[in-house]
Amino acid sequence: MTEVSRDMKPEEIKLAKTYLNHLLQARRQDALLCIVESIKNGTPLKDIYLHVLQPVMYEVGRLWQINQIDIAVEHYITAATQLTMAHVFPHAMTSKRNGKKLVGGCLGSELHELGLHMLCDIYEADGWDTYFMGAVTPDASFLSAIEEQRPDLLCLSVTMMFGVPETRDLITSIRTKMKKNCPKILVGGLSFIMSPHLVTVVGADGTGKDAQQALNVASRLVA
């Protein structure tokens, strides 16, 4: 993995801080409006996701870890950001389709779905058709979704280490069942950022530190 997303531009830093400050003061509408305004002014959806919303969510994680915000605030900001994403998502549907399909989900007990949600929206903006199943998706549902949707790419997201052995077992099941028809498999989330070596351990084809890296890797894997 050599591709690294670029640094934030000054205007993105300003927008991210404005957005976060609105949400820290429970001003969800103001937060949404500043993002919508930026989109109207021509900021690409991908830049909003990668260089505004994602850095904001990392900062929210940091604030929670040092006990400056509690879990209620973290959940409020996560929910508000999901609302923001739903509001701006139509901008992802304007690009041409590339004929490729992605199935994505968080398995087992994994509740942290925002990162994969962002990734699916960004792939959609890049022309992919995406089938996002969200948090706590049972193993059997992954298998049926793969059989029904016949995706080129499967994306699995794991935040907590508890989910890594489950990911390994699910990938083994999928490869055993699908054999030559198995889609390429990307894994991501905090566990794999912490220890990229785990990508090999679980039997995946690749990973990405963020959606842009994952998109770059997928472009190579799915020609």
Binding site: D7, M8, I13, A16, K17, L20, N21, L24, H51, P55, V56, Y58, E59, G61, R62, Q65, I66, N67, M161, F162, V164, P165, R168, L190, S191, I193, M194, S195, H197, L198, V201, K209
Partner: protein, 162 residues
Amino acid sequence: MSIEELFKAAEQLSAPKVTSDIVLKEQAEIMASLLTARLLKRDDLEELIGPGNEGVMENNHLNHFKYISTLADLYDPKSFVETVLWVVRTYIGRGFTPKYWKVMLPEAQSVILGHLAKEDSVQIQTIYTWLEKYIDDFVQISRDTTSFYERIGPLTRTGDND
């Protein structure tokens, strides 16, 4: 000690080979309750975890046993160190003191060994022995280094949210 030295030390720790990882996973809640009960009996609990943190401690105990069962299934030295560091940083941020782990780790070990087959006990003991040996280093590194979020979060590196 640096985090790189901790990674190397964790690489020397053999992956625990236990047959009881499923038992550990299934009994995580019970073991967490037993551990919490032991800690709640202590007169110095507030000194260990800070005021009003009993619920936070209870949550940590459940995650602890779930994580030990994960280690028994899949041991990865780098994520092991990063995870323990993350835990220490998070709970110290909530008022826990380093002394908490000096008390909690032997108690957790005692609880967990009561639920394992004898041949698995030795494997799990090596993890606890290692954690007890290096817990002070984890505390020190958590104080001296930037957190995981600070390392990956570009907004954090740009300064305060003003």
